[in-house]
Structures are given as structure tokens and as C-alpha cells.
């Protein structure tokens, strides 16, 4: 099954729910189970929230979301890319450490990347300060725990 979708949304927090619902609805054409769907939606929510809070620092910007479905070894694979043109991340390794946050006073948990890493099969983060950040995540459908 090959398919894709692209989505462009302003960096408003109200769009977090929309973004994860939209990706979830796209992913629902596969035979994914409830757990896999929840994992994907949570990961999208994390990536989009990061772009809003850290990438654009709550200023106006655009978030680009792309989803692709492909088939590998007879299994369906979903790839989700969330990209922003915000301030970027200087030290990606540091940013990905569990509990690390640059916004502790705002009560951020520092768990965003850790959640994405745990809930998806792969996570790739590319970023350049001043240019923006791209998060690419993949997950194979139908290999996780039974429904």
C-alpha cells in the first residue's frame, strides 16, 4: 500500500489535537491496532508541540507534516515527518536526553523526544540553529503487541 499526505498548519497549540487526529485518520487506512494508533498520535503530538514551543517559541510560524505509507517485507510502514522553520536546536544530543528541557520554568517534562523514541521504531532529528528542525519517525504496522 503506497500513499502519502501533506499538511500545513500554523503553529497554534489548538492545532496539536488536529495534527494528531489527521495523522491518525491517515494511518487508519492500514490495519494498525489501537496501541499503534495511540503511539503514532502521541508521537505526532510531541513533535508538533516541540515545533510550537521550542521551534517557534510561541510566535507565529508554519509547521509542515508529511506522512507516507510504504511496504517493506510484506509489512506496512508509516513515516511521519514534522518540520518547522523555527530557531533550530544547537545540541540535538542534549535535547534528546530524557528529562532535559530548556523550559523548566514552564513545567515542560523534557520527555518529548524520549516518548517519540519509545513509541516509534526510528527517530531522526536534523536541525540547524536559525533554520529549523525536521523530525522523521517511522513505525512498522502490525508487528507490535496484539490489539
Amino acid at each position: 500500500m503506497k500513499n502519502y499526505m501533506k499538511l500545513e498548519i500554523p503553529s497554534k497549540s489548538v492545532n496539536e489535537a488536529f495534527a494528531r487526529a489527521a495523522v491518525g485518520a491517515f494511518a487508519a487506512q492500514t490495519d494498525l491496532n489501537v496501541e499503534e494508533l495511540a503511539d503514532i498520535k502521541t508521537s505526532v503530538s510531541e513533535a508538533v508541540t516541540n515545533s510550537i514551543i521550542h521551534g517557534y517559541r510561541n510566535e507565529r510560524g508554519i509547521i509542515y507534516i508529511e506522512c507516507g505509507l510504504s511496504e517493506k517485507d510484506g509489512k506496512c510502514m508509516i513515516e511521519v515527518t514534522v518540520r518547522d522553520e523555527g530557531c533550530g536546536i544547537a545540541d540535538i544530543e542534549k535535547a534528546m536526553e530524557p528529562l532535559f528541557t530548556t523550559a523548566a520554568d514552564e513545567e515542560r517534562s523534557g520527555m518529548g523526544f524520549t516518548v517519540m523514541q519509545s513509541f516509534m521504531d526510528s527517530l531522526k532529528v536534523t536541525s540547524e540553529p536559525g533554520t529549523g528542525t525536521t523530525v522523521t519517525m517511522t513505525k512498522q504496522i502490525g508487528v507490535g503487541a496484539d490489539d
Binding site: 497549540s13 510531541e46 513545567e107 515542560r108
Partner: protein, 101 residues
């Protein structure tokens, strides 16, 4: 409404509803903290039974309330954990610190 508060003496129960993300976390935080600040609360119970979705912003909310109630010598408990919310709490390590049911 995302958060329903019920006070019983020094105990405050915050029942959360629906989808908990960064968009609504601030409002819930303010709601709970307002009660914590003006009333003599020493025990906070967070009920996640009706939460259908939560991401790490919800974790931040819970961790923040834990710090706040702990700082005044109070205690916090989480009830109504589902496999999904349980997994998130486990991941952050806060589960070890909080009473849960």
C-alpha cells in the same frame, strides 16, 4: 471542561477529562494551582480515568503539581491509570515517587 475539582477537607481531587496536551495543560495547571494556593490542601489526587489521550505535556503538568504539593510537605496520588497513561508515567520515572491506584 477538562478538569473537575472536588475538595474534601484538606484533600483536593482533580479529575481530568478528554485529551491532555500542551494546549489545555496551562489552563488545568492554573485551575489546580488556584485551589492549592488559596486553600489549605495537603493531599492532591489526580484522576486520569477519563483521559483518552495524554502526551508529555500532561506529564509536565503532573510532575509540576507533584513538586508543588511536595514543597509544602503534602502528598499526591494518581488514580484511574490506563495502560497508556501508565506507560508515560513509567517512562518519566515519576511513578516511583507518587502513590497510585
Amino acid at each position: 471542561m477538562k478538569c473537575e475539582l472536588n475538595q474534601n477537607g484538606g484533600e483536593l481531587t482533580a479529575a481530568l477529562y478528554g485529551e491532555i496536551d500542551q494546549h489545555c495543560a496551562d489552563e488545568i495547571r492554573e485551575q489546580i494551582d488556584r485551589e492549592l494556593d488559596i486553600k489549605n490542601i495537603f493531599s492532591l489526587i489526580i484522576d486520569l480515568k477519563n483521559v483518552g489521550f495524554m502526551d508529555s505535556s500532561g506529564l509536565g503538568l503532573i510532575m509540576g503539581r507533584y513538586k508543588k504539593i511536595k514543597a509544602r510537605g503534602g502528598k499526591m496520588k494518581i488514580v484511574g491509570l490506563t495502560p497508556k497513561t501508565d506507560r508515560l508515567l513509567e517512562m518519566s520515572g515519576i511513578k516511583k515517587l507518587i502513590d497510585k491506584e
